[in-house]
Each structure stands twice: as structure tokens, then as C-alpha cells.
Subunit: 703 residues, 2 copies
């Protein structure tokens, strides 16, 4: 197509002013030191690593993204598999660390078919296999002779893991397990990498010994022939079909018809079947496994900031370049249209999300620190106890109090942060108006691929019950007069002490009062929920909405607190001007949340209606104005290479219209098709032999 573009088209430029000049001016107008802020967010080492890996990927044709938005499902998957393979080869050849690979995946920015092999199959064997099992299963998996997946979710059961239908029945006679799918709904479903790629599966199945069920356990089961790649006998598996996004991945289904696996197929580090006695060996405390779930959720929290930041980066750059209408109150002599980023209706949608990118990022980092502190703590307790009692970790429940806090916190934050990121991306997309709907905007597919995050690792609604349970438990403990042992019980105690005095938070004047108002609201609704459940004896089901709101309130408090504390502990990493701007972003995030949730702040008397009105009508507008000059540089600090964003509208240099046009005219394969536009004719003019529908209208027999 490129050759066909006439010279007069090639000579055209966008009308003045040029995007390049606009963004250059934006960057000149703000004194913010982007490099410094980038270092602060990510650290120098991470940035160097990214540069290094980016240059490797960009030099590999298979990672060229030019056609990504055009590919259909089959092509998407095939290309992604090619990328998975090449990435693995590069990683092995160059001795890349796990972190290097994660960075590469981040830059490639699409789910790859090996993901579950590396992220779940290997991890499960390493974590839950005995040394003997690791010897047998780990080596071929690490050498990519086994490509595995992790088969837990079923057609009929997701959240309720205990309800899984696939069975693993112990056969005492020949020391084997029979893996079986008794119903259609027992079919494994949604299993990443299973559809076409994997030849091995780690299958969660209900262990049955002598007719008695012992709950779900992991079993390693071969599913495809290692040479012919065909399904093994009595295994039926395939790809579950297209999805809203994630179409580079072959999520699969899997059914078994009484397939026998040996005794060592059951991952036996924590629980096992004694092959001699057929007795079930009780599992260890679930603390460590619990820990893994917490780690996964913490990672989601950490990633939510940068996930959202991609959309905010694209929208901010484009809306700075985009100009539409004159300002209605502009003086007569002022010519030209206004940058859309100058409209308060755009700022009110975009700037709170810009602030949220930092809020979520700092919260994620805080969450990770909490996780690591807890891991250390647990390790220490295990060691101490081992020294004292020579007891294995199986017999202790180390640090379970801290763990409960970590569990509650990570559930609430996973729910809030991933919802904020997902919904924020869609707000960014719509704020870009018509062009936001183009695939070339780069937000639609990113959003679609991210969407599963609000459902997996605990549905964002379901999880809030865990948070409520934790808060109710904490409140009961405080009411009993127990001393506070963590931040949650701290704020609940404080609330109890002050509840007859009421609150008087200077939310517009003092940042620490703003944090305290969020703590107050969370505590108020915790005790309200407790009364409803314990005193009014309301049913659990009737309280689910209240629990959801409570979890959100508490998690918003955590985000506000993390943002605030990060800035408090920041000294010479940021110059005073940049730090001051970050404080403004903190206030913007907190006040905007306070206004959106104003009815809860009223009801709990955490602030007055006058404060809310002032926040809405004055403080926020003021903050928009103060942040506006720095918006482009603030998103620059996230440091997304153009190659990663793959967005015409988000181009760093501002050449958004040129890139839109290039992608549409030069890269677009549909423009090779010549339609025959008349009703009673073949579909395509040249009657292309490859066209599925070329002849569909010629078959007069059907008319």
C-alpha cells in the first residue's frame, strides 16, 4: 500500500500548531525534573534493565508490533506462541533472570502462551513438590520438554474451590490415582496455556480415599503426547474460544475419562497419601500457601499503578495535542482552539487518575514491604520454633496474626486498586472522544487484556467479604479491650476513644487530618457493620453490600495513608518543587475520593457538608489549575517507551495525527480488499480466491 500513496497525500501536514511543538512547549513550561522523578518511582537499576531489554526486543522481527492490532484470533495466538518461544530462547541464551523476563513481558505487553508454565506450573512443583518429585518433574519443565499449565477453575466452579468436581481417587491396589471428570461442569475451563500449548497439567482435583473426600489437591497429569502433540487417550482438551481480550493466550478446557497417574503425581510436600496404609497425611498449616496468594494479590496492587499510568500517559499527551472549540469566555482577540486538556470537565476525569497512578504505585510498594516484612517474620518464627522444639514447619502456624492483617489488607487493596485501574483506563479512553475508540489509541486492547484481573485471584466483590470479616474480627478484639497490635486496631481504638467527642478534621487545611478523616470513616462503618451483624443479628447475605462499601472505605484509607506516608518519608530524593507537586497530587487524590464518597463522609461525620462543598467547588478546581502545567511531564516520569505503548495518540513526540494516518493507510490489511459494492454481486470485486464470502451471493439455489 505504501507505494500507492500519492505524492500530494505525502506532502500533507496536520494544521497548525503541530503536535511536536505543543508537547515541546508543554515540557518547556514545567520545571519538573523528569529524570529525578523517574528514578524516585522506579529506581535507576530498573531503568537500566528496561533499556537493555528493550533494545534486544526491538531488534527481533518476531516482536514487531506493527500488525498486532489487525490480527485475528488464530494469528494472534500463533504470533504470541512464536514470541513465547523466541523470548525463552533469548532468556536462556543470555542467562536472563526472572526479573529480566518480567521486564520483557511488560514491554511486550501481551499475555504469552508460556506464561502459565513459568508462572504457575514450575512454581507449584517448586513450592509443593517433595525433593523426589522435583527431581522427576522439575528438570524437564525447566528444559521446556514439559510445557505445563495450572488447571484449577472448572466450567461449573471458580470462586468456590471446594466445590470443584474433578476427582482423584486413590487406588490402594496398584498405588495410583484415577483422575476423572464426572460431569460436563467438571471440565477445567479458562486454564491459560492449556488450549493448544501445554503437554502437562497440574490438575486440582478432589482427593478421595476409600470413598471419603479430602478436598482439592494438586496432581501432575500428562495431557498431550510429547512427540505427536496429540491428546493422550481419555483426555479431551482444547481452546475455549475468543474472549473480550487475552486472545493471544490459549485458555483451555480439559476433561478426563478415568486417567491413571502414579502415586508421585500428587504434589506431596504439605499433604500426601501414605501408599502403604492409604492414610491421608494432614497438610501443614495453610500459612505458607496463604502467603503465596497474598504475594499474588500484592503484585496486582503493585502493578495497578503502572497499568493505569499507561492509559493516563496516552490520554494526557493526546488531549494536550488535541484542540477543540474556543474557550467560551475567551476574549475576542484570542484566536485558535483550546487544548482539550484545559477544559475542567476533562481535568476532572483525568487528573484524579493521574494522581491515582502515584497513589496506587506507592500503595503497592508499601504492600510489598509489608509482605516481605511478614515473610521474614514468619521465617524467623519458624527457625526459632524449630530450634526450640525441633518441629517442622508443618506443625506451626507462624505469625498468623500478622498474616491475617496482611491477608485482609491485600484482599481489600487488590479489589480497590484493580477496579480503579480497570475503570480508570476506560475513563481515559472515553476522555479521548472518538479517537479513543480506535485500536491505534492503544487503550482499548490494554483495558480488555487487563479486565480478568478484576475477577481472578479473588473476584473484586467476593474479596470484600474477607476484608469485612477481618475488620469485624479486629473490632471485636478492640471492643474486648485488647491493646492495638497493628494499624487497623490502632485506628479502631482511636475511634472508640473519640466516639463521644466526635471528630473535627481540618481536611482542607492539613494533610494529616485528611488521612485521619479516612480512618474515621472506615472505623465508623466497621462498628456499624459489627452492630448489624452481632447485635441486630442480620443475615450475612443481607450485609454484602454494606461489606463491599466497608472494604472500599477501608482500602481507600490505606491508599491515602500510603501516599501520605511515602511523601512524609521522602527527603532529598526529590527537589522541593517536585515534592510540593506530589503533595498536591496527594490532596487531589484524597479530596476527589472524599467528594465521590461524600455521603459516607457526611454520615460518619468525618467532615461537614461545607467542607465537601468547598472541596468540590474550590479546592479541586484550584488543584487542577496548579497541576495542569506539569501534566505532560508527570506522565513522562512513568517512562513508557513508545514501543511499549504502541499508541498513535500517546506518542512521546506528539505526532499523533501522522501516526494515526500511517497506521490506517500503510499498515491496514483491509485496504488491500476491493469491494464490489452492488447488492446482487459477489462481495469482492476481484473475486479473491481467499475470500470466504466471495461466492456466497452467487449461489442462486439458495435465493
Amino acid at each position: 500500500m505504501a507505494a500507492e500513496i500519492p505524492q500530494w497525500v505525502k506532502d500533507l501536514k496536520p494544521s497548525e500548531p503541530q503536535g511536536v511543538d505543543i508537547l515541546a512547549q508543554e515540557r518547556k513550561n514545567s520545571p519538573i525534573n523528569v529524570a529525578q522523578l523517574t528514578d524516585f518511582l522506579h529506581g535507576k537499576e530498573a531503568l537500566d534493565r528496561k533499556r537493555k531489554i528493550l533494545s534486544v526486543l526491538q531488534s527481533e522481527p518476531v516482536f514487531n508490533k506493527d500488525q498486532d492490532y489487525f490480527d485475528g484470533r488464530v494469528d494472534k495466538w500463533e504470533k504470541a506462541l512464536a514470541r513465547s518461544k523466541r523470548l525463552t530462547t533469548i532468556a536462556l541464551n543470555n542467562n536472563w533472570s526472572d526479573l529480566d523476563r518480567r521486564v520483557a513481558n511488560d514491554l511486550i505487553s501481551e499475555p504469552l502462551p508460556y506464561a502459565l508454565h513459568e508462572g504457575m506450573y514450575l512454581v507449584t512443583i517448586r513450592g509443593q513438590g517433595t525433593p523426589e518429585q522435583q527431581k522427576k518433574y522439575l528438570k524437564p519443565a525447566e528444559e521446556y520438554r514439559h510445557i505445563g499449565c495450572y488447571a484449577q477453575t472448572e466450567l461449573g466452579h471458580g470462586s468456590n474451590v471446594r466445590g470443584l468436581e474433578t476427582t482423584a481417587t486413590w487406588n490402594a491396589d496398584d498405588k495410583t490415582f484415577t483422575i476423572h471428570s464426572p460431569h460436563l461442569t467438571a471440565s477445567k475451563w479458562w486454564i491459560g496455556s492449556l488450549g493448544r500449548t501445554a503437554n502437562m497439567a497440574c490438575v486440582m482435583a478432589q482427593l478421595i480415599i476409600n470413598g471419603k473426600p479430602y478436598g482439592p489437591h494438586p496432581f501432575i497429569v500428562p495431557i498431550r503426547d510429547l512427540n505427536s502433540h496429540q491428546l493422550l487417550p481419555n483426555v479431551y482438551a482444547g481452546d475455549i474460544g475468543p474472549k473480550v481480550g487475552y486472545n493471544t493466550m490459549d485458555n483451555g478446557y480439559l476433561l478426563f475419562n478415568k486417567v491413571k497417574v502414579p502415586h508421585d503425581a500428587m504434589m506431596a510436600r504439605f499433604s500426601a497419601v501414605d501408599p502403604k496404609t492409604s492414610k491421608y497425611i494432614r497438610p501443614a498449616s495453610p500459612a505458607l500457601i496463604y502467603g503465596t496468594l497474598t504475594w499474588v494479590r500484592s503484585t496486582i496492587v503493585l502493578q495497578s499503578g503502572s497499568t493505569l499510568a499507561r492509559g493516563v500517559t496516552i490520554a494526557t499527551r493526546y488531549l494536550a495535542v488535541r484542540r477543540q472549540f474556543q474557550d467560551r469566555d475567551a476574549p475576542q482577540w484570542e484566536k485558535g482552539e483550546n487544548q482539550t486538556l484545559n477544559y475542567t470537565m476533562v481535568q476532572a476525569r483525568l487528573f484524579p487518575l493521574l494522581a491515582a497512578t502515584f497513589a496506587l504505585h506507592f500503595t503497592g510498594k508499601g504492600m510489598m514491604r509489608l509482605y516481605e516484612a511478614n515473610q521474614k517474620n514468619m521465617q524467623k518464627k519458624v527457625t526459632d520454633q524449630n530450634n526450640k522444639r525441633s518441629a517442622g514447619p508443618e506443625e506451626t502456624t507462624p505469625g498468623s496474626d500478622l498474616l491475617a492483617d496482611l491477608h485482609g489488607t491485600s484482599c481489600g487493596l487488590k479489589s480497590l486498586c484493580s477496579s480503579t485501574a480497570a475503570e480508570g483506563l476506560e475513563v481515559c479512553r472515553r476522555a479521548m472522544g472518538g479517537h479513543g475508540y480506535s485500536a491505534f489509541a492503544g487503550v482499548g486492547s490494554w483495558y480488555a487484556d487487563y479486565l480478568p484481573t478484576v475477577t481472578w485471584e479473588g473476584d473484586n466483590y467476593m474479596l470484600t467479604q474477607q476484608v469485612a470479616r477481618y475488620l469485624l474480627k479486629s473490632a471485636r478484639s478492640v471492643l474486648k479491650g485488647n491493646e492495638p497490635n497493628n494499624d487497623t486496631t490502632e485506628i479502631l481504638s482511636h475511634y472508640l476513644k473519640r466516639q463521644d467527642t466526635g471528630s473535627a478534621f481540618d481536611v482542607l487545611g492539613k494533610d494529616e487530618d485528611l488521612v485521619a478523616a479516612f480512618a474515621w470513616r472506615s472505623s465508623f462503618f466497621t462498628f456499624a457493620a459489627l452492630r448489624a451483624r452481632d447485635e441486630d443479628k442480620k443475615s450475612w447475605n443481607s450485609l454484602l453490600v454494606a461489606f463491599y462499601n466497608l472494604s472500599k472505605a477501608h482500602s481507600q484509607y490505606l491508599v491515602v495513608k500510603n501516599f501520605y506516608e511515602t511523601l512524609q518519608s521522602t527527603t532529598n530524593e526529590l527537589d522541593p518543587e517536585t515534592l510540593g507537586l506530589m503533595h498536591k497530587l496527594f490532596r487531589l487524590y484524597a479530596l476527589n475520593t472524599l467528594v465521590s464518597e461524600s455521603s459516607e463522609f457526611f454520615t460518619s461525620a468525618a467532615c461537614t457538608t461545607a467542607q465537601i462543598r468547598l472541596a468540590q467547588q474550590k479546592a479541586l478546581l484550584q488543584l487542577f489549575e496548579e497541576i495542569r502545567p506539569h501534566a505532560v511531564k508527570l506522565v513522562d516520569s512513568w517512562d513508557f517507551p513508545d514501543w511499549q505503548l504502541n499508541s498513535a495518540l500517546g506518542k512521546y513526540d506528539g505526532k499523533v495525527y501522522e501516526d494515526m494516518f500511517y497506521r490506517a493507510s500503510v499498515l491496514n490489511p483491509l485496504n488491500h480488499k476491493v469491494a464490489n459494492p452492488y447488492p446482487d454481486s459477489p462481495v469482492l470485486y476481484r473475486n479473491d480466491a481467499q475470500s470466504k464470502y466471495a461466492n456466497i451471493l452467487k449461489d442462486k439455489a439458495r435465493l
Copy 2:
């Protein structure tokens, strides 16, 4: 693939209870007369028409939807063009009315490439061409020798139509216009049917006579050769590439390099260039064109109810079949899992949307009645004035007061109702958990295709400025002491009279008070905005968020009022039980809105905090419980055939898991691909010659 399914797989059934039995039971448990309610919503004639057309479409292979979710972009468009052609042939052969065709499009449920030819090109010529122009351009278009599109939006300008860059310069010497694209941003963009299909375009271009601009006007311009289907000289056009949805449509770009068209290319019914004097002939009052925009927006309002109802139907049926977890408070002896539809957290998301489907539908009908009344009124005034003064319609501005009301109302409702439908669909999708993400759920693509509606025909944020302008004008008129002349000025006057007495609405006890509370809140914020603008002299830009909220408040009032009035005027069309249930849905919709917007109801003192709390904690939960037994039958009343929904999860008979499995295993083309799973190997095992990526890893030169 079908042949490959082993017998043991074919023998599998979902675990008990079966979806079929569950939905049968749901229908048995509710006494609602579905047929009666369906008639009430749609009318018998519409139902008969739908049945007739459905049976025609189902018998045509080109409309078979089996592969729709699997097709890539190019296939999607090609199939859609084949469908457009076939549909047109059928319609012509069977003398289908416009209404018949709309029903067919509704059942097909995807944008078709002829849509803009029929919806905009023909309409523009009919509406804006002179009789001579109609003779020349209408016949070939009606005979489908010309396939047209409507080229208004440009790469650089959408909302701001006056800012369009394409020019049409009058050449007095040879009585022609030169159509030209001076910049890249002048490229027409997003133009439906233009990318590959159309050979004619109605182009909106800035009319220039003697160097003076006269604003955008419509010109008919040939763009592709009628025989070779290649672009004409100095025309450059193509498809703009893939989008979030709408990928069956070839939205296009279009550039002109000084293309000459004759004098009659400019549609001249309302304004023209005198070929002899080169003088511009002033346009008629924009009233009639204004009317068209209002009609388009009213149609969007009318369709929003059924658009949302598709998602609600699918989610309600699936969540009745889906069972997950036992109720936490369930007695020990109760076995089995709970239907997910029984959880209040699901009900709180789904039931307000169920209520909204009816609310939007009745509001749309009300909007249409208002439009038609106004059209009649205008027609009458034109006739009267013609009789009196023999003046042509060009010189009068008939019914402009009523029109302003209609304009404000249609802008606000278009914004609110299309946002409600779009966001509601996504809520439905997420409420279905993991399976909602599957293409087979049928909600994702429907949502994606609907999304442009929140941007086109007036961006949903931009439009709210029109509503605010209208409300401010109405408030000024009321303050001046003018008598109320419509419902808006009526409620504003009432508010003024009561403003020193305050309000006391029994929102939980009386339905009419609930409506009045919404009117009060709308009026309160209208006068607040007026003070901010007229007294405090705040800038227009600083008020945009307040205007947005005001428009939403007023439009929510209109929806609540329309729902209420529809039920008030309903007598024997519905039996008392069904009518009672509709009243409950009215209360659910209104109270749920009141709770979501509670801070505005507090602030305006339209109700007390106690009322809000009671609504949230008691009334809504009570309504959920009362509506729950009828949920399945209520969605049945929307009467969507399975063929239309094309959803595994929304199947009328409840066989959701069977259908998911069938689509994944039998219909899914990806399952024909056999992967070679090892990193250092070709991508596919059989090295399929059609595979784009089969050899990509073999080219060792690149490694």
C-alpha cells in the same frame, strides 16, 4: 472437529440441578403473564413483524452466526458486506418497509456496511436536495448503483463542526466547486461505509465564495469508479483500521486534492450559491435540521432500554443457573450451593439495571411522543403562517420555544440513557464473573459495538452544556416572573414558591413524592448554577463539572417522571399483579438512584439522611426480595430470540454449560491448529503452509 469428540465426552452432562430445570422452575414460581407484559412493552404488531422477519433471516446461510465471534477483522467486514447485500436484495424482493429493515438489523445485531448509505446518504439527499437534485442523485442511490456515505467528522475535528477544514471553493468562471483537503487533519475520519464500500460521499465542507467562508455545507462527491471500484483521481480514501468494536463496518478516511464538482453538487434546499451572481442564498431557519438531530437523539434514548435489556436478560438467566457457595447462614441440613442470583451483592448490581431497562424504555417512548407532538405543532404553524403570509418555511422559525425544550430534554436524556446502557452492560458482564469475559457470553461484543453511542451525536459530556444552557435560560425566565410554559419552568416555579418553606417529601411512602424530590433536586441545582454564572460571574469552563451534574440530575428526574407517568396512565393493559410489580421496579429505580446520588439529595434538602439510610438499608433490600422471584420472567418479557442474543449464557432454555462447551469444542477454529510447544522449533507441529508464523523461528540468520 465434531467427529473427533469421543463418545465419553458426548455422554457427559452438567452436574445437577440442570439449567433447564432451574429456569423452568423459576418460570413456574412467578405468576407474571409474560405475553401480556411483552405486548404492553412492544405491541402485538411489532412482535408479529419480528417473528416473520426472524424466520426469513434464519433460513439464509449468510446470516448464520456460528462463526461471528471467531472472525478476524477482514472476515468480519467481508461477511457483513455480504449480509448487507443479501439483506437489501431480500428487502427489495419482498417490498420490506423501512421498519421491516430496522427490525432485521436489530435481529442481525451488527453494524452493516450499507448502514450509512441508507441512514445518512439517502436521508440527506431527500432532506436537503432540491427536486432537481433529487432527480439526479436519488434514483441511482435508491437503486444501489450509487452507494453513499456521509463524510462530516475529520481527523482533527469532531464535536466542533464549525472547525472542519475541508473546503469547497466556488469557481464563478466555470460554475463549479473545488473540494480540497488543505491539511492532513482535514482528512475525513470515522466515516461509516466509506473505507471500502461507498462510491459516493456526501461531504461536509467549508463553503468559500470570493475568499469568504460561509461555514460547512453538504456536497455530493463521487469517490470511486462505478465499474472498476478504484479511487477516482485526486481522491484518497480507505479504511481507518480496527476499533474497540464496530469492526464489521469499514469506517473510512477521505482526502481530496482539488477535486471539481458541478454547481448542483451542493445540496441546495436550504441554502445555495446563485450561479449567476455568485451570491450566497441564506439558509432557512435551522429549525427543521435541528429537528433531525433531535430525532436521532430521541431514537438513541428509545433504544437504550432494549440495548441494556440484552445484557440484563443474559446475566439474569445465567446467574439463576449459576450456583456458587452455600449461603453462610444456611441451616446445616440444607445442601447444595446457592443460586448466584440470590446474593444481595449480585441483586444490588443487577436489579437496578433490570428496573432501568423499563425506565429507559418508557422514557424513550415519552421522548418520541414529545418529538412527534412537536413535529405536528411545527407543521401546523408552518401551514398557518403560509396561509397568512404566503411565506415559505425558510422565513419562519416555527415552534422554536417547544423546540428548545425538546432540544434540552433530548440532549440530557441522550447523555444519561446511553451512558446508563453502556455502563450497565459492563456491570452485567462483570456480574457474570469469569464466564462473562468469554465472547460466547454475548455481552462483550455487544457492549463494544454500542460504545460509540456515548460519543457520537453529541459526546455525552459535551451535551450536558446544552442542557445547562437550557435550564439556565428557563430559570432566568422564571425569575423574571414569566408564567411556566412547560414542565421545566413548572418545576422551577414550584421550587421558587417553596424555597422559603423547604421540602418534606415522603420518598419512601409515596411515589409522587419520590418524583417531586427529583424535581426539587434538579431545581435546586439549576438555581445554584445560575447564581454561580450570573451573580458570582464564574467562568463557563470552571462550571463544566457542575453543569454535567446538573444535566444528570435533571435527566434522572425526567426518567423517574416518565416511568411514573407511564404506570399512572396504565389501566387494563396489565393485570393488577403485574402492574404492582412494575410499581416496585419504579421504586427500585428511583430509590437506587436516590441512594447513588445521595449527597445531592442531602445538599438540596430534597430528603433527610434518615430517609437515605432507610432506603439503603431497608427499602432496597426489601424490593430486591420482592422482585427476585419474577426476575427471569421479567427479562423474558423483553422477548429476545436466542438467535438474536447469540449467547451461550443467556440461552432461554438454561442449557448454558452445554452451549459453552459446544461453541468451544465444535465451532472453535483454533482447535484445528496443532502447536509445536518447544521453544526452538517451528510454531506449529504440522508446519501449516497457511501459518504466517510457521517459519519465523527457523530463520536462524536473525538469531
